[in-house]
């Protein structure tokens, strides 16, 4: 259901949610925002709560860093303390850290909402059609998205080759020396691949100027307007916690 929405409508609501999360230094607001996004994804996008939990893990670790910094190194955390002082009036380092912790998760949840509900191809096409993104940049983005999994596969092959040379099975996680040794060959691969893709795009007629049509360009529908209104209202409702 959410996947049918216009990517730019989703982007707009997500940006508003992110801005609200950054401006409202209130733990309850962050928790309400997390719950709102979580319910929306589970109910309307059939996202597994387990997947959401796994996706939030790095954000939780990041937020935990804020929390510990705020609690144990309060003197050094001037900005957070100052912000806490302005918003919560006389709050402790712990509560300020808690807000920062939930904010990290809220921002992560909103980002996950965008990633899980938006087809990258439809998003780039929407940007080209509605936001005048130059097609050369749009299709470069497509090619870059294609390159990421291929780079990972190349890196894996190189790691296996290096392990073979060293006479041991490949390590689960590469060490810093191995990562450094992978950089140059991977860079060479990426440059060669990017050059070839650019040539192929040009050979298929991608020009820097002139009109072009876009098949399956996302169109704004009434449902997108309704989605934006409901989204903004829900974010506003989270704001009730500020009162």
């Amino acid at each position: 259901m959410l996947k049918a929405r216009h990517p730019l409508a989703i982007l707009f609501v997500c940006i508003v949610a992110l801005v609200a999360s950054i401006l409202a230094f209130n733990a309850l607001f962050q928790i309400a925002l997390i719950a709102l996004v979580c319910v929306a994804l589970v109910a309307f996008n059939r996202t597994s709560p387990l997947v959401l939990g796994a996706l939030m893990l790095p954000f939780a670790l990041f937020g935990f860093g804020f929390l510990t910094t705020s609690v144990f190194f309060r003197q050094e955390s001037d900005f957070a303390v100052k912000m806490a002082g302005e918003a919560l009036l006389q709050s402790s380092g712990f509560s300020a850290g808690l807000v920062l912790f939930f904010r990290a998760i809220a921002c992560g949840m909103v980002s996950a909402f965008f990633a899980l509900t938006t087809d990258p191809g439809a998003f780039v096409r929407a940007l080209m059609v509605s936001a005048k993104l130059p097609p050369r940049i749009g299709y470069s983005l497509f090619a870059a998205m294609q390159l990421v999994p291929d780079l990972a596969a190349e890196a894996q092959q190189m790691r296996i080759a290096h392990a073979m040379k060293a006479g041991r099975p490949p390590r689960r996680i590469p060490g810093p020396v191995q990562v450094f040794r992978l950089v140059i060959p991977l860079l060479a691969y990426a440059v060669r691949r990017a050059g070839r893709t650019a040539i192929a795009l040009e050979a298929r007629g991608l020009s820097p100027k002139g009109p072009r049509t876009v098949l399956n360009a996302p169109r704004f529908r009434r449902g997108d307007g309704v989605f934006v209104i409901i989204g903004l209202a829900a974010i506003g409702l989270c704001g009730v916690t500020l009162l």
Binding site: A163, M164, E202, S207, P211, T213
Partner: protein
């Protein structure tokens, strides 16, 4: 005295007039000087050894060389009577469709229908018309409708190749250019692709570079052969060139149809067909029992026998009494971070054996090879025996050093004395014909040289009693493959066991006494390679096509004296 400017000929779609191409920082020309023209509706095959400039010549046609790939181009190139340089390369896309060797190079990771629509979108064709043309192209190539919304990055290699073909055919261009379109395809997929390329609009001109000639050559009007120096060394109808210039083509290391070798043998026996054959069936049609007299058949049999024997492995199969080297027992194999692709695999390799691992694209051959070598952990089951050295499909993935010499030095044990190391490296450089390249960076070498360096690095020490070679013939010309077979045989002579992953059945037939066929998530068959080649149902099931020389084997059986 000045020469008069030549007028463009409307019957020609493309012309190269005294064209030569020099890449920066090179002393010799990549192409040329070349004088060449392509007629309207003509199907032209461009052949040449590795490094003869075939791809460069194709890229000059729409100005990608020198416009996007820096090079100095002398002479004049005309497309549809107009100077190529008069337009930007992208402006030719409406009239010239280009199909590249590597599908990943053509596709950008969009959904399948968007990939196919891309060229038409660039021409600002209305979306409704595009949708209709996309549906037609998908039907023509045989892409299921369910693929429309699939991201091209989730397709297998062969599937991507078909999508790339649909994306090029949809342009409905007057001139179609294809650069080694079947290089990475299993035989069945390659045959299908050839049929799509050659069965279509008779007005469309085609210029194709490909070394897989079976199933293609019959539809070619003219053959153009580039020599090692990038100049044209032969030109004409394939029947004439392959018969009259056979020795030249073989000397240049250029791929010829299998029938050409049989034709040579029959000529020596003075019983060649009157018209030069392009297939084994044509070569033997005049010798079928009932058509030819018994004396003619008797005259031909030694020649056909000798031809067939050239496809038999020179290496004998080891006896099952030999010590077992490596064994997989009830193994489940999966690529790194991927799902299980092969289940309940039972496979043994004996000392001194050359084993073929055959299968279509995406069957799981490479995953099996990595599990066999001990470099990928099994998801279930057991692996017993010595570890193996693995030569990757892309030899670049194996290189870690800055020079060829260093690559070999770092492959030797650390505790080996320095003097011994340098002697051993010098010996290997000479043996693998890399002596003059010792200070070059491995990435600068040609494909054949990279392949040799990868094998040299694996065999410089005695660490690996078993070697797994993944698609070792990819990117090699006929000379390169012949040399590779000799080198693999010499490795075998040192007592090593070798597993060769390939979908080139001719290659497997000449090298491997025993093969396994991988498909449908497991091992479909295990036995003598020649027996597997006779099993048409098995080959069909595995997405393979029988080696062309098998028709000659059947002729020998049919014509055997009672």
């Amino acid at each position: 005295m000045t020469s008069e400017p030549q007028q463009p000929d409307p019957a020609l779609v493309a012309q190269w007039r005294e064209v030569s191409v020099h890449y920066p920082f090179t002393t010799t020309s990549a192409v040329g000087s070349v004088d060449l023209s392509i007629n309207r509706g003509e199907r032209v095959l461009l052949l040449g050894p590795s490094g003869s400039g075939k791809s460069t010549l194709l890229l000059t046609l729409t100005g990608l060389v020198p416009e996007s790939i820096p090079a100095k181009v002398d002479g004049e190139i005309l497309l549809f009577g107009e100077r190529v340089a008069a337009r930007k390369p992208w402006a030719w896309a409406a009239r010239v469709a280009q199909y590249f060797q590597d599908a990943d190079q053509t596709l950008t990771g969009m959904r399948v229908e968007d990939e196919i629509a891309f060229a038409l979108e660039n021409r600002a064709i209305p979306p409704a018309v595009i949708a209709e043309k996309v549906a037609r192209a998908m039907r023509r190539v045989g892409l299921p409708d369910a693929w429309r919304k699939r991201r091209s990055s989730t397709l297998s290699g062969g599937e991507k190749q078909l999508v790339a073909l649909a994306a090029t055919l949809v342009q409905e261009a007057e001139f179609f250019i294809a650069d080694e379109p079947t290089a990475h395809l299993a035989p069945e997929a390659a045959h299908r692709l050839h049929a799509l390329l050659t069965h279509g609009d008779p007005e469309r001109s085609i210029l194709i570079v490909d070394h897989r000639l079976e199933g293609l050559i019959e539809f070619i009007d003219r053959l153009i052969v580039l020599g090692r120096d990038g100049t044209i060394v032969a030109e004409g109808h394939p029947r004439i060139v392959f018969r009259e210039r056979r020795d030249l083509l073989m000397a240049q290391g250029i791929w010829c149809p299998v029938a050409s070798a049989l034709d040579g043998r029959l000529e020596e026996a003075d019983i060649a067909p009157p018209t030069a054959p392009l297939s084994i069936a044509e070569a033997l049609a005049h010798l079928e029992p009932g058509v030819a007299s018994p004396s003619q058949i008797a005259q031909a049999r030694p020649a056909v026998q000798a031809f067939v024997e050239a496809y038999a492995p020179r290496v004998a199969a080891p006896s099952r009494q030999s010590p077992m080297l490596t064994q997989l027992i009830e193994a489940d194999c999966a690529p790194s971070l991927g799902p299980v692709v092969l289940r309940h695999v039972n496979l043994s390799i004996w000392e001194g054996e050359i084993l073929g691992i055959l299968g279509a694209n995406g069957a799981g051959k490479s995953t099996l090879g990595l599990c066999l070598s001990g470099l990928l952990p099994l998801k279930a089951g057991k692996r017993k025996g010595a570890p193996a050295g693995y030569a990757f499909q892309r030899p670049e993935n194996q290189f870690t050093a800055g020079t060829v010499q260093e690559e070999l030095l770092t492959a030797l044990p650390d505790d080996m004395p320095a003097a011994l190391k340098s002697n051993r490296v010098a010996e290997m450089l000479a043996r693998w014909e890399l002596a003059s390249l010792e200070s070059r960076h491995p990435f600068e070498l040609s494909q054949g040289q990279k392949r040799r360096l990868a094998l040299a690095a694996l065999t410089v020490s005695d660490r690996w009693p078993l070697l797994v070679l993944d698609e070792p013939t990819a990117g090699l010309d006929a000379w390169g493959v012949a040399r590779l077979i000799e080198q693999i045989e010499s490795l075998h002579d040192t007592g090593r066991a070798i597993a060769v992953i390939t979908h080139d059945l001719d290659f497997a037939s000449r090298l491997c006494p025993r093969s396994i066929v991988v498909g449908e998530g497991g091992i479909l068959a295990d036995g003598p390679t020649q027996d597997l080649m006779d099993d048409a149902a098995l080959l069909r099931r595995a997405g393979l096509v029988e080696s062309a020389h098998r028709q000659a084997v059947r002729w020998l059986r049919r014509s055997a004296p009672c």
